[in-house]
């Protein structure tokens, strides 16, 4: 009995030992894996950091050179390089493990520097020249860039002295090396007139130009929402809340046969800012052509100005149609209204009017300096033109009157825009058509 018991004990000990050994080996292997991963991650952070540093150095030097460059051609090349380096620098910055608010400041500096370089380069491309203010702006950007690079150099020295810039603080957050870079100090004021590019600070706020009329009450908003969707479709209407963007608005939920339709109506004037549906269209019972017509007549019945179809796309049995307002036969591309139709019920379920509400005012349209014939002659000879028409297109911070030509080459269709004042080719879009709709890229 005792021998038997001892044998069993020995067997149990053997099993436990084997398990303990297995566990140790397993833990070792895991620890090695974790080490390897940690090294790989550190390496990729350090790579991103070093690349940022070298790109920022390049930007600094080119900002300096651009101030003293003797020819516009050389200046263009330098500005181009700044723009390209800024693009790469922002990719690398975004990969750094610093806190979001800190990186945001750095990204903003880099994005705006690149953007300004692109704007100035564009001006030189169009035959313009840099003003003394432009050169002054380059000098200021250069000064800011020098400060940033000094701080980056400090971090690099830390790394070289064996300090780990990626170590973590007590609460587990990585010690952001860029945090020590006092980025807020390098923030500079951009003269708003000089710089109104896509990344300018002014773009954050949208004023809705097309809002007019008296302030409405919540009850009036509910009634307006019901009438907008169509009284007979509404099963129940409810005020869901109030929002403040982009303009003070009432948010309203309507339950309908097409699902729950949410709308935001501006308090001033009761205009629909957006409308969307939570539902599911199971099949396409209507053709795209019929739905586009129905969407256009919906807008007409709701008192919108005349519109022209610009493109459309179907997804999940909903068709989204993009319209632009038309004034005296001229298409106003900044004034976009999108209407979404259920392809099952053939009824409107969505609307997006922020662009329209931001831009739509009565334009004073000048006579085109360039005739359609003269503009057509500017087109690439390989294109055969189907039609031309006048339109207004967004241009920088403003607008330009342009001739739009629908043309094709080798069965590929394009829309080409020629500035009606200067004859400059502003843009080319390729028309892409498939069973889901027609888009331009």
């Amino acid at each position: 009995m005792t021998i038997k018991r001892m044998r069993m004990l020995a067997a149990a000990v053997a099993v436990l030992t084997a398990l303990a050994v297995a566990l140790t080996i397993y833990a070792r292997a895991q620890a090695e894996k974790i080490d390897a991963l940690q090294n790989a991650i550190s390496a990729s952070y350090e790579r991103a950091f070093y690349e940022t540093a070298s790109l920022m150095n390049g930007i600094e030097i080119n900002l300096e050179k651009a101030q003293v460059a003797g020819s516009d051609a050389h200046r263009r090349a330098l500005l181009n390089e700044i723009d390209r380096d800024a693009m790469s620098a922002q990719n690398n910055l975004a990969a750094l493990p610093a806190s979001l608010s800190v990186i945001s400041e750095a990204l903003k500096f880099v994005n705006q520097t690149g953007d300004i370089a692109a704007v100035l380069c564009g001006r030189l491309n169009e035959g313009g020249s840099l003003t003394p203010e432009d050169v002054e702006l380059l000098a200021r950007l250069h000064g800011a860039c020098v400060n940033v690079n000094d701080l980056i150099d400090g971090v690099i020295r830390d790394i070289e002295q064996g300090l780990d810039p990626l170590s973590e603080t007590a609460d587990g957050a990585p010690v952001a090396q860029v945090e020590r870079v006092k980025l807020r100090e390098v923030e500079i004021d951009y003269p708003i007139l000089l710089y109104d590019g896509p990344f300018s600070d002014g773009r954050g706020e949208t004023a809705l130009k097309a809002l007019g009329g008296p302030e409405i009450t919540p009850e009036q908003a509910l009634a307006a929402a019901r009438a907008f969707v169509g009284e007979d479709r509404v099963i129940e209407a409810r005020l869901a809340g109030e929002g403040s963007v982009p303009a003070p608005s009432y948010e309203i939920n309507l339950s309908t046969g097409d699902g729950l339709i949410s709308l935001a109506l501006s308090k001033q004037g009761g205009q629909v800012i957006y409308m969307m549906v939570e539902g599911a269209a199971r099949r396409a019972a209507f053709s795209q052509a019929a739905l586009i017509d129905m969407a256009a007549s919906f807008l007409k019945n709701r008192g919108y100005p005349p519109v022209a179809v610009s493109y459309w796309a179907a997804f999940d049995n909903y068709l989204t149609v993009n319209f632009a307002a038309v004034q005296d036969g001229v298409v106003l591309y900044p004034d976009l209204i999108k209407v979404q139709m259920s392809m099952e019920s053939g009824l409107p379920v969505g609307l997006e009017a922020v662009n329209y509400l931001s831009n739509h005012v009565e334009r004073s349209l000048p006579e085109p300096a360039l005739s359609e014939e003269a503009a057509r002659e500017r087109l690439n000879g390989a294109l055969s033109v189907e039609r031309g028409r006048l339109c207004v297109v967004p241009r920088g911070s403003g607008e330009a009157l342009a001739w739009e030509f629908a043309a094709s080459a080798d069965d590929v269709r394009y829309l080409v825009y020629i500035d009606a004042a200067t004859g400059e080719e502003l843009n080319i879009y390729r028309v892409v058509e498939d069973e889901n709709g027609q888009l331009v890229i």
């Binding site: 018991r5 069993m8 004990l9 149990a12 099993v15 436990l16 398990l19 566990l23 922002q90 990719n91 975004a94 990969a95 750094l96 493990p97 610093a98 806190s99 979001l100 608010s101 990186i103 945001s104 990204l107 903003k108 994005n111 705006q112 953007d115 896509p198 990344f199 300018s200 600070d201 773009r203 954050g204 706020e205 949208t206 809340g241 929002g243 403040s244 963007v245 982009p246 303009a247 729950l260 949410s262 935001a264 800012i273 957006y274 969307m276 549906v277 939570e278 599911a280 796309a313 179907a314 997804f315 999940d316 909903y318 976009l336 999108k338 969505g350 997006e352 922020v354 662009n355 889901n436």
Partner: protein, 228 residues
């Protein structure tokens, strides 16, 4: 005594096994069913077409035709007939289902890789939210793309360090549902129920000292506060 030792050993082994599975969980198996989309569905459809169970083209959308074909395949091959493609059915079809949706982006023409990535983020961050709440989360990503303070591409914004919790905890790798796909499309078409907001957070889970609370809240949709 013998029993006790055997029991002890068994318990010990069980404990080790359990702690292993808790510490190192196996990846949840991918199951495709009606409503699923993406590269996995395309692979399954290609096999079904190849074997003559399905007619037409592999469009990456698991619809009723695909389900019927799967049911027929399961019946003929002695599999559990449920119309869904789990590990057993996938193995019988000779398809390996990837759990990393990013490994191969949907082959359908109507879902671009940007839309699919955005939909994955929407699903991971807002799957419990209303449709409007989903569009709002997608719109925040797109507002960041056009803001100077953030990267300039959808993938750049989504994968920015520390930007989204679902990227660090892996929830972003789940396959998005059709609502999330449509919400992503809607936001890309210009719908923005936040009116230009750059941040959102869940007021009930954010820690009271968080810097994000210093941002001005413009609107609240479901559990999310949207801020500039």
């Amino acid at each position: 005594m013998k029993k006790q030792i055997v029991l002890l050993t068994a318990l010990f082994a069980l404990a080790i096994a359990l702690s292993f599975s808790v510490l190192f969980p196996a990846r949840a198996a991918v199951v495709l069913e009606v409503g699923s989309r993406g590269a996995n569905v395309t692979k399954v459809q290609q096999r079904l077409i190849q074997f003559g169970y399905l007619k037409g083209v592999a469009d990456g959308r698991y619809g009723e035709a695909t389900r019927d074909a799967v049911i027929l395949f399961q019946k003929r091959n002695g599999l559990t007939v449920d119309g869904r493609v789990g590990p057993a059915t996938a193995a019988a079809l000779g398809v390996s289902l990837s759990s990393q949706a990013s490994a191969a982006v949907s082959a359908t023409a109507s879902v671009s890789s940007d839309q699919y990535l955005l939909a994955r983020l929407v699903y991971a961050e807002a799957r419990g939210e209303s449709y409007k709440g989903k569009v709002a989360v997608a719109a925040v990503v797109l507002n960041r793309v056009s803001s100077s303070s953030f990267p300039n591409t959808i993938s750049g914004v989504i994968y920015q360090q520390g930007a989204f919790e679902s990227v660090s905890n892996g929830a972003i790798n789940l396959s998005p549902d059709s609502d999330s796909l449509r919400a992503a499309k809607e936001a890309m078409n210009g719908w923005d129920p936040t009116g230009g907001c750059l941040y959102f957070y869940n007021a009930s889970t954010v820690s009271s000292g968080s810097w994000i609370l210093s941002r001005t809240v413009k609107t609240v949709i479901g559990n999310h506060c949207f801020a500039m």
